[in-house]
């Protein structure tokens, strides 16, 4: 056996997450268990598609130099995906809840989020479920350091990791990118309604981070998607 007994880490809405040793490495197993409320054919189809999306996008991110957990194994039969376990981490959601937006590193983190999203979109990857729970901060090892500095967070030595690519796809259209930004804006409004400038900083970094490329079309479409939402008459 090169796989230790998995320990349940958490149960999310669509998957159970375990940790174990796999081939000597600390590993996360994400099991997309059966949802009994939906038709079995639909369930199998959705799970297959999401595992496929996740694996494909992680690989695409690697080529694009975007940090995600490394992919170890995909097991369609058992509905499982094996990934690198990042033991020391804090979600951006928890970071904001604990430290607020007045702290010195907040703006840098928000900018990094914008730049990372732009990189995703420039590589035609759409995340599909952008929330601050799906963004992790992990310690960034400083030059020459072997150990994680316990004060990594306070010093702002952080790296941004994108997770949960189950709703993603890799041949995204302008519309998809616009919707991706809209989903993020909505998630921020509902989760961090007291920090109104967060999305503005992210969006600005998104626009300026790649001076060679052109984000105008995506931003224009994003504004159209947003207008559709706000202008909906909501009859009945």
């Amino acid at each position: 056996m090169d796989e230790s007994e998995p320990q349940l880490l958490k149960q999310g809405a669509e998957a159970r997450v375990y940790i174990c040793k796999y081939l000597g490495r600390d590993t996360v197993i994400k099991e997309r268990f059966q949802k009994k409320y939906r038709h079995p054919d639909l369930d199998v189809e959705i799970v297959k598609e999401r595992i496929r999306n996740e694996a494909r996008s992680i690989l695409r991110c690697k080529f694009a130099n975007i940090r995600t957990p490394a992919l170890y194994l995909v097991d369609f039969e058992r509905r499982k995906i094996y990934m690198e376990y990042l033991a020391t981490n804090i979600t951006v959601k928890d970071f904001i809840a604990k430290h607020g937006t007045a702290n010195e590193h907040f703006e840098k983190i928000a900018k990094t989020i914008g730049e990372t999203l732009r990189k995703l979109h420039d590589n035609n990857i759409v995340h599909g479920d952008l929330t601050t729970s799906n963004m992790l901060l992990i310690p960034k090892l400083q030059a020459g350091a072997e150990q994680i500095d316990p004060a990594w967070l306070a010093k702002g030595h952080v790296e941004l990791v994108m997770i949960d690519f189950g709703l993603s796809y890799t041949d995204a259209s302008i519309e998809d990118k616009g919707v991706d930004l809209y989903v993020l804006e909505r998630a921020l409004l509902s989760t961090h309604s007291n920090y109104e400038d967060l999305f503005a900083i992210i969006l600005k970094a998104y626009v300026v981070s790649n001076p060679k490329g052109n984000a105008n079309e995506t931003i224009k479409r994003f504004e159209e998607v947003r207008a559709r939402g706000r202008k909906r008459t909501m009859v009945g």
Partner: protein, 333 residues
Amino acid sequence: MVLAIGFEGSANKLGVGIVRDGQIIANCRRTYITPPGQGFLPRETAEHHQQKVHEVLKEALDQSGITPDQIDVICYTKGPGMGAPLMVCAIVARTLSLMWKKPLLGINHCIGHIEMGRLITNAYNPTVLYVSGGNTQIIAYDRRRYRIFGETIDIAVGNCLDRFARVLKLSNEPSPGYNIEQAAKRGKKYLPLPYCVKGMDVSFSGILSLMETKIDELLKTYTPDDLCYSLQETVFAMLVEITERAMAHCGSDEVLIVGGVGCNVRLQEMMGVMCKERDARVFATDERFCIDNGVMIAWAGALAYSSGTRMDFSESYITQRYRTDDVEVTWRD
């Protein structure tokens, strides 16, 4: 001690309801029903409401046994909804306010649904799935607002069902959604349809256009019952999935389903299975309270009025666009 009367007419239902201290003492309604294959249009719907409003009001007063002088506040739906039908109820409410010399209060239709559901089911702080002909939203309460966590990015789920009923020429009596629900019970063969969840948002327009453009071809291999069944299984699975995501996000263990589509028993059943798996509870109501009615407007008005909300006569307009999170919730902590 508040006695409130409410007028609802934002779509094809005209309702008058009366509430005394959380007790429903009248709940009267008429529905404008169109022939199979046709939806309801603003002008005809408004005419229907105009013709029926006197008899519904009289019925409500008789049912409750109260006299106008006992009323504390007159509530009407300010929006969202179709302009012309909304205007009918607003004019009636304004007229009565002057005749009876009573204060007037305009109410957000969505807030009405949520508060009605909480009153009937006693759900304490639920994640709310609001599903109707015009709305599809996942809502949770946070710091004096009902905040929208997810919603449709194109058409509402009820609109998708209604329009599909028109494609099949199903009867609109008592409602297209009810007839789809009955047909779906006889369906056996499952047709895979576009399943579109984006974060906590959903999209239904792809399913509808597929059904509309391919219907003749589909009917060669599937019965209308099969199609109703497949449609329900797909769209409800999407709704249950985003509800579960919202619950996980908010750490909530209660779901309340409100709005016209909320009385669909299959949707309630699927939601129940999801809730059982995560030790949560599902709350739903039947057609008397789920479908648009006057009581929900009266009750939401009573809550707002008791907590000090007042409206000047000059502000008694209507608005077709009025978002759930625009309302400051003064009656909850």
